[in-house]
């Protein structure tokens, strides 16, 4: 990775944002829901992001909110990656009717804008972070599995795989020892895209306050709150939005860096 600036900048930015969020899990300047400050204070040293119309310290709320967003997005990516890689590898390798069936299912799902599926799933499963993670995971799997499938299907035609077969290597060994190291770049950059889509989708859903309870407020919900006081306290919206943008930007730079590093 000679001068892969994208990757380096991405790693630094993501580390900063995740560091900020991790801090929020253990310590916040004030209790996030404590309403013991005067309302709508502008940003100051005591309250870097000012206070909202209930007199709560916005910075503390944003730190905790960002934690929820990150947690949900990470959960989604874990579910999606594990299931997606397995499904993609097997269909890519074996092909045949399993592959055909999955591809048709994939096309059918693709015709739904992801938001619609999320709306339906969350309404069915009910609110709460775990259900949101599951819903986002389900929406993430098809697109990720498709990428994994095409990578494995392409690798299967390579002669070094024929040679591995002639050596008597087991299918699992061929898939994960022989093929995986050649394609993990592409998979990793697909995972970063998946992570960002999860963050964006979760933010949109909680902005529409679907499947979100106020005390578990993630950044999206706070953005809709901030809109109501946009005139008097624009820093609430700007601050909250900035955290999301920086998180997504950091991760997408990593993905771009990986993609460029490979070819």
């Amino acid at each position: 990775m000679k001068k892969n600036t994208f990757l380096r900048v991405g790693l630094v930015l993501t580390a900063l944002v995740v560091g900020f969020i991790a801090l929020g899990l253990v310590w916040t300047p004030y209790a996030p829901n404590a309403m013991d400050f005067s309302r709508l204070l502008p940003p100051s040293l005591a309250h870097p992001m000012g206070t909202d119309k209930f007199g709560r310290d916005i910075l503390s709320r944003v730190m905790v909110g960002a934690g929820d967003t990150l947690l949900i997005a990470l959960g989604t990516v874990v579910i999606g990656t594990v299931v997606g890689t397995l499904v993609g590898a097997l269909t890519g390798w074996y092909g045949g009717w399993v592959d055909e069936l999955l591809m048709r299912l994939n096309d059918a799902l693709a015709s739904f804008p992801s938001i619609l599926i999320l709306l339906v799933l969350v309404s069915l499963l009910g609110g709460g972070q775990e259900h949101m993670m599951l819903a986002l995971g389900i929406v993430f799997i098809p697109s990720y599995a498709r990428i994994v499938r095409s990578e494995f299907a392409r690798a299967r035609t390579q002669n070094y795989v024929r040679m591995a077969e002639l050596m008597g290597a087991s299918t699992a060994r061929i898939l994960f020892v022989h093929i995986l190291p050649n394609i993990w770049h592409t998979l990793l950059s697909a995972i970063t895209i998946g992570f960002n889509n999860a963050v964006l989708a979760e933010a949109a859903m909680s902005y529409l306050s679907i499947g979100v309870s106020p005390d578990e407020a993630s950044l999206g919900y706070m953005l809709s709150e901030s809109q109501s006081i946009l005139g008097s306290a624009p820093w609430y919206a700007l601050g909250t939005g900035l955290i999301i943008v920086l998180l997504i930007l950091g991760v997408s730079l990593i993905g771009e860096g990986l993609q460029r590093g490979e070819n």
Binding site: Y160, M163, M167, H178
Partner: protein, 243 residues
């Protein structure tokens, strides 16, 4: 029959094709192919691209389900060498790792023993020691083919199928690889099924040769006999074109 390595009887192969009007019909690729291969013999298979040579190889190696006919292997685990030196070696690992992989899978030897055998094979196929630490894209085409041959040899095969192993190489390198293959046959008694579209290469290396046209063996003979007195018009045409 004792020194037989491979026997193919009436092998016929076809695959389903749908033309642009959506009608399905079967396209026959191999028509009633039969031949035998003895121990230590190099049998050439010559024919223009698209006459079914690769399909025959896939059938013999069991990489594809045989439609009709019989393939009898008298030896265990035949190996293969491919035409394109760039895609036949795993780009993610070093040459040493690739050569050692068959032994790892075999599982009987400890690390030291595996190491020793890898170095021994590298030396036999003429690979300089420092190549072992390099990845395939750091090697020349000729060196890569030597690694492929090494991977095959380390598994002590009785039969190696070489699918156009030298056609992607320069003339001078070609000659070295062909000599390596002949010395392997002389020393270890390994049999080769040697596929090529280049009659000159076949002439230099093979003992017997089969000429294939549209999936059918049109002529089979010892190399000197076939080159001096070709019977089939197609064989004559191939010979005059290559001259």
């Amino acid at each position: 029959m004792d020194d037989l390595v491979l026997e193919v009887k009436n092998l016929t192969s076809w695959y389903r094709v749908t033309d642009d009007r959506g009608r399905r019909h079967d396209k026959t690729v191999l028509r009633d192919v039969s031949f035998t291969l003895r121990r230590g013999e190099i049998l050439g298979l010559v024919g223009e691209s698209g006459t079914g040579k690769t399909t025959l190889v896939k059938n013999v190696l069991g990489l594809v389900k045989t439609n009709m006919g019989e393939i009898i292997h008298y030896t265990k685990r035949p190996q293969m060498i491919f035409q394109d030196p760039y895609s036949s070696l795993n780009p993610a690992y070093t040459v040493g790792w690739i050569l050692e992989e068959p032994l790892r899978i075999y599982g009987k030897y400890d690390a030291a023993e595996r190491r020793r055998r890898v170095e021994e094979i590298a030396e036999k196929v003429g690979l300089p020691a420092e190549c072992l630490a390099r990845k395939p894209n750091g090697l020349s085409g000729g060196q890569r083919q030597r690694v492929s041959i090494g991977v095959a040899l380390i598994q002590k095969p009785r039969l190696i199928i070489a699918d156009e192993p030298v056609s992607a190489l320069d003339v001078t390198i070609q000659r070295q690889i062909l000599e390596l293959m002949r010395s392997v046959r002389d020393e270890l008694g390994i049999s080769f099924l040697f596929i090529s579209h280049d009659l000159n290469v076949v002439y230099q290396l093979c003992d017997r040769v089969m000429v294939m046209k549209d999936g059918r063996i049109v002529e089979e003979n010892t190399v000197p006999e076939l080159f001096e007195h070709p019977r089939e018009p197609y064989t004559r045409e191939l010979l005059s074109a290559a001259d």
